[in-house]
Amino acid sequence: MGNIGTYEDRCKDFSWSLSEQELGYKPGDAINIGWHCSDRICNMGKGSKMALLWENHEGKTKQYTFDNVRVLSNTIARFLETLGIRQGQRVCLFLDRVPELYIGFLGILKLGAVAQPLFSAFGDESLFTRLNNADTTAIITQRKHLAKVRKIRDQLPNLKHIILVDAGDGPLKEREVPFDMEKEEPVEKFDGYPTLAETPSVLHYTSGTTGQPKGAQHVHYSLISQYLTTKWVLDLQDDDIYWCNADPGWVTGTSYGIIGPWANGVTQAVLDAGFSSEKWYAFISKYKISIWYSAPTAIRLLMKDGKELVKQFDLSCLRHLASVGEPLNAEAVIWSREAFNMPFHDTFWQTETGCIMISNYPGMEVKPGSMGKPFPGITATIVDPVKYEPITMLGAAGLIALKPNWPSLIRTYHNNPTGYASKFKNGWYLTGDRASIDKDGYFWFQGRDDDVINTGGHLVGPFEIESALLEHPAVAESAAVAKPDPVNMEVVKAFVTLKPGFMPSDDLDLEIMNFIRKRLSPLAMPQEIAFVDSLPKTRSGKIVRRILRAQEFNEPVGDISSIMND
């Protein structure tokens, strides 16, 4: 039987104190995620147990025990401390999926600083937006990403330290300092900062419909729900080998790619390489992965390569599969049952929630296409968009709403309390998604309630893309909307009007695509650009994205009475 036992029994009289007790935490105690993910596991006698099994695309491998992780995270913490970094300051991790990313994350937390992991494929403009908003003090990165940092450093006077984990003998510029994790004098004992439940821990940037991405501020108490959801939803047990596909630049990669598995004292494997069905299956077989947390976009790519390929590998080690990032379509669930003899279990949550909210559980019936049921202790419902009151009519769709009472809910958006307050209506936290609930209490995703684009399981905000498009010399006006895609669910489509003297062409199309890809990220890159004469606007001049989006999805455009006709 899985860790969760019977879902219905767990829901009765649930209390997060159960998780607190298992972690040895009492309200008022100091609590530090970095310590709980390393020192505490060693104190339980598991210091010699493997924590991290790492491999890159060249086949290079590294392995770290929990004691290695404890000592190396101490070492990083001490190094940052000697640079003058203090509690509460933001330290960005801008790295590929190298061991320094995972271990550095814990080191930053042990110091009491705030970890700000960012996806290493971000372009300089995306990087600047997030570092500037967070007023980041230091960035830990690699030589291959240094050009992007150097491009923006002069606009970030408070960015005091640019720390290179692979500096080698090459020249360094002002504010740049080398740090070799393997060669630095190891620190056996480090007295971490006595962080408390409400001490800021991790700052994740997430996109919304309006404005630039927002810094979602997590606290150390988030550990309480991240630990227990890992144990009950992903069913991690002591002898499992776990693989989470997500990059720690995104919240899945920290909540369930570092905190969850290591707080549970479980070994995890990490592959620092791009997608390849064959290489992924070989990785699972080599490391005997038993629990696999993946994403719908990746699963659909695996489906494309077919079930016959799966049979060429011994994947009998697998015992539980889960998925995150976007709704897992029914076809993918059915396919995985046939390909792996078990279904991927869809899980629903977001950056702001910090942990899984609605899910399918081990031992519970999986309805293909359904998000599942609320995690024990989570009060979830759907509300109407006017009064924000629960909708009770079966089959009706409404806004997914959660009672804001779980440990890992973010405490604010950094420097944006107004934006944070707008997430709460009538005592509910609104996720920005729509769903319906069936007679058995299963939730069924219906779509986003706003203009945010969910591409490959990552949310991309249209404003950031449109602002970047306007920086291209040819673009006069821009709109970015979602376009349906069979693999990524949605991709970005841009509508642009051109300045006088510029004409639409294939060359310009490709130039703009690459312009956005390098400035922002591959995710934000429009996969299609439509050159138009005008964009639909309200009488006040605001671009009405929903009309463009509705056309892409073959949906009714709704009320157009306020739309200005050119």
Binding site: G274, V491, M513
Partner: protein, 82 residues
Amino acid sequence: MDELTKSVLEYVRREYIEEDDDRELTETTPLISGGIVDSFSMVSLKRFLEKKNGITIPDADASPEAFDTVKSIVALVHRFKK
């Protein structure tokens, strides 16, 4: 080295590899599985190949495997040039 291979190598180096990244890029360097070109960026690479060679590559043929090396990309282009 033929002109097509050379042009694809130059394009990949110019568009997908950072200035300070001095890694070697050859016809057989893994691009997708090596993390140099991700699945989203493949779209712009596909657009470049189509435009430069006056071809259309069906989406079904634009797989991560077909785009994983410059060598496999050139083979793909030749297939649709005929």
